[in-house]
Subunit: 182 residues, 2 copies
C-alpha cells in the first residue's frame, strides 16, 4: 500500500453522493449512486460497480513561474465548506501521446492556456490530478475538483473554457461526474 495511489470506487455506498453523470465523449461508465476514494492496496478490489485507479505524481508541463503562482494561490482539497465536487475521468488520443514533450507543452499552455486558466479560478476551485495512464487503466487521468455550492457556475465556466481549447480536441473519452459530500 502506498499513500499516493488511490482507488475511486463507484457503487451504492460512500461519502460522496452522485448528483449527475454526464458522458461528454466515448463510452459511458455505469451509473452509480455513491463514490468513495481509498488508498490502493496491491490486491484488486472487487468492491463497487467500478473502480478507477489514479496516482499523484510529479508535474508534467508546469514551469517554475507557474508552479510558484499555483502554490501561492491554491488550497488543498478537503475544505469543510467545499461540499460540491466533480470527478472527471478522461482519456487523450494516441496522437496526443505520440507528440514530443515540447509539442504537448505548446498545445497545453501556449495555445490552450490550461494552467493560466486554472489559476484564475483559484482558490475557489480546488483541484487534484490523479494519473492513470501508466497503470493500465481505461482513462489517462482522473481530475478531481472541489468547491463551495455558490461557486458551481464558476466551475462550469472554467470547464466550458477548457473544453473549447485545442488541447481538448485530443480528448477521446470524458465523463463529468458531480457529487456532494454527505
Amino acid at each position: 500500500m502506498t499513500d499516493y495511489i488511490f482507488d475511486f470506487i463507484g457503487g451504492d455506498s460512500g461519502p460522496w453522493k452522485v448528483t449527475k453523470m454526464n458522458t461528454l465523449k466515448g463510452l459511458p461508465l455505469e451509473k452509480v449512486s455513491h463514490i468513495k476514494r481509498q488508498p490502493n492496496s496491491i490486491l484488486k478490489s472487487n468492491e463497487g460497480t467500478w473502480a478507477l485507479k489514479g496516482v499523484i505524481s510529479n508535474l508534467r508541463y508546469t514551469e517554475k513561474g507557474e508552479k510558484e503562482k499555483l502554490i501561492a494561490l491554491q488550497e488543498d482539497i478537503g475544505r469543510a465548506s467545499a461540499t460540491h465536487m466533480a470527478m472527471i475521468p478522461m482519456r487523450k488520443s494516441e496522437s496526443w501521446w505520440a507528440l514530443a514533450q515540447d509539442e504537448r507543452r505548446k498545445i497545453f499552455e501556449n495555445k490552450s492556456h490550461h494552467t493560466q486558466t486554472g489559476l484564475k479560478y483559484l482558490p475557489e476551485i480546488a483541484r487534484k490530478l490523479y494519473h492513470s495512464r501508466d497503470l493500465g487503466e481505461p482513462f489517462d487521468f482522473i481530475t478531481f475538483f472541489e468547491f463551495k455550492p455558490e461557486h458551481a457556475n464558476y466551475f462550469d465556466e472554467l470547464l466550458g473554457y477548457l473544453r473549447s481549447t485545442e488541447e481538448w480536441t485530443f480528448v477521446d473519452r470524458e465523463i463529468d461526474i458531480r457529487m456532494i459530500r454527505v
Copy 2:
C-alpha cells in the same frame, strides 16, 4: 494484462544470465543468477527472488527535433547479434521530483546532454526505458540496454559520461546489472 507493463523477475531461471551486479548508490538488490522479463498480470507474481515492474510510457523530456533524430538512428531491442545486456534500476531523489518541468528539462538536456549523448552511441547501444515511479515501486526507472559483445567498452564510456553529469547528482539509488543472452 497489458502489453506495456512488464515484470523483471530476478531468480535462478530465465533467458538472461547475470554476469555482474554492481550497486553504485543506495541499497543493493539480492544477487540472482538469471533474469526474465514478462508481461505484467494483475496478480502480484511470487516468482523469483525479486520482481521489478516497469511501464513503457510517453516521452517526458524529448523535444520534436531530438525525437526525429532518435527515430532515424535507433534500432529496437531484440537484435539477435546483441547478446550483451544491461539492466539499470535507478531512483532519483525527492528534490528532483519536486522541480518544475522546465527545471528538470534544463538539467537533463541543456546541462547534462542526456539525449545528445545517447544519440552518439546509436545504433550500437540500443536502449529501452521502463517507468516505475508511479507504480509504487522501489525504483523510478528500469533502463535496459542491449549491444554486441564488441561494444561493451563503448557502453561503459556512455555510462561513465552520464554518471559524471549534474543530472546524476539527483540519483540516489542505482544498480548496474550486466547480463548475456543464453
